[in-house]
C-alpha cells in the first residue's frame, strides 16, 4: 500500500467515525434546533467540523511534504479526486435542499440553524470525499493500470 493511500485510508476511517458519532449525537437529541440551545451540542459539532479536516491535513499533507513518499502517479490521483469531492458536495447540497424544501413546504420558512448544519456537513463530506477519491483512484489504477 502506497504511503498516500494508507494515510488517505486512515483519514477516511477516522473522519467517518467522527461523522457517525456526530449524527448519533444529533439523533439522540431528536430536535435539530437543539443546536442553538445546547452549547455542548455546538461544541461537539465544532469539534467534528475542525477535527475531520485537521486529521486529513495532518495525515495526507504530511505525505505531500515528503517528496520521497510522493510521485507523479500520487499527484495525478490526488488531483483527480477533486472531482469526486465536488460531486459529493453538490450531492450533499441537493439532498439538503430537497429534504428541507419538502419538510418545510407548508411553513414556508426554514430555521436558520440548518444553514450552519449545511455548511458544516458540506465541509466534512468534502474532506471525506477527497480521502475516498484518493482510495478509489488507487483502486482504479491497480485494477486498470
Amino acid at each position: 500500500m502506497a504511503p498516500l493511500q494508507r494515510r488517505a485510508l486512515y483519514s477516511f476511517v477516522i473522519g467517518l467515525v467522527l461523522t457517525i458519532a456526530l449524527i448519533a449525537v444529533f439523533a439522540a437529541q431528536g430536535d435539530i434546533t437543539a443546536f442553538e440551545r445546547d452549547p455542548n451540542l455546538r461544541l461537539v459539532t465544532y469539534a467534528v467540523l475542525i477535527g475531520v479536516p485537521l486529521i486529513y491535513l495532518i495525515l495526507v499533507n504530511l505525505t505531500l511534504r515528503k517528496p520521497t513518499q510522493f510521485d507523479e502517479r500520487d499527484r495525478l490521483i490526488i488531483e483527480k479526486s477533486s472531482r469526486a469531492q465536488w460531486l459529493a458536495v453538490i450531492f450533499t447540497l441537493v439532498v439538503w435542499t430537497i429534504a428541507l424544501t419538502e419538510v418545510y413546504q407548508d411553513q414556508g420558512q426554514v430555521p436558520l440553524t440548518f444553514l450552519k448544519l449545511i455548511f458544516t456537513s458540506t465541509l466534512i463530506i468534502s474532506t471525506l470525499a477527497h480521502s475516498f477519491g484518493i482510495l478509489v483512484g488507487y483502486w482504479d489504477i491497480n485494477r486498470n493500470g
Partner: protein
C-alpha cells in the same frame, strides 16, 4: 482551439452572462423579498433554465464536433483539467461559505431565526456556477500559459 478550451469559453460565456443578467434583473426590479413575488421568481427560474439549456447544448455541440474530428486528448490536457478541478473546488466552497454567512447575517434575529426554503436552492446553484466559472477561467489561463 482544443475541445476543453471551447468548453471553457462556453462556460465563461453562459455562466458569466447568467450572473450578469440575473444581477441586472434583480437590481432593476428586485427587492430583498424577491422570492415572494411570483413574476420575479418566474423570471429567475426562466433565466436559470435557459442558462442550463444553453450549457447542455454547448457541451453536446463541442463533444459531437470533437468526436467527429477524433481530437486526441494528451497528457497536458488531462493535467490542466485535473488542476482546474482541484482549484475550482476550494473556490466553490468559499462561495458557499460566503453565501451562508451573508444569509446568516441578513436573516439572524435570534435563536428562532428563519429563512425562505428558496435560498437553499440558491446556495446550491451558486456553488455549481462558481465551480464551473472557476474551472473555465483556470483552463483558459492554463492553456495560454502553456
Amino acid at each position: 482551439m482544443l475541445p476543453s478550451q471551447k468548453m471553457a469559453w462556453g462556460n465563461v460565456i453562459v455562466w458569466g452572462t447568467y450572473l450578469i443578467v440575473l444581477a441586472i434583473v434583480l437590481a432593476a426590479n428586485g427587492t430583498a423579498l424577491f422570492w415572494q413575488e411570483d413574476s420575479l421568481r418566474n423570471v429567475f427560474f426562466t433565466i436559470t433554465g435557459v442558462a442550463f439549456a444553453a450549457f447542455v447544448i454547448m457541451m453536446l455541440f463541442v463533444w459531437i464536433r470533437a468526436s467527429r474530428a477524433r481530437v486526441a486528448i494528451d497528457e497536458r490536457d488531462h493535467k490542466i483539467m485535473n488542476r482546474a478541478n482541484a482549484l475550482a473546488g476550494p473556490i466553490a466552497m468559499t462561495a458557499l461559505a460566503a453565501t451562508s454567512l451573508v444569509l446568516g447575517l441578513v436573516y439572524i434575529e435570534g435563536k428562532d431565526s428563519v429563512m425562505s426554503p428558496y435560498f437553499l436552492m440558491y446556495v446550491t446553484l451558486i456553488n455549481i456556477v462558481v465551480y464551473w466559472l472557476a474551472q473555465a477561467v483556470y483552463t483558459l489561463v492554463a492553456y495560454r500559459r502553456h
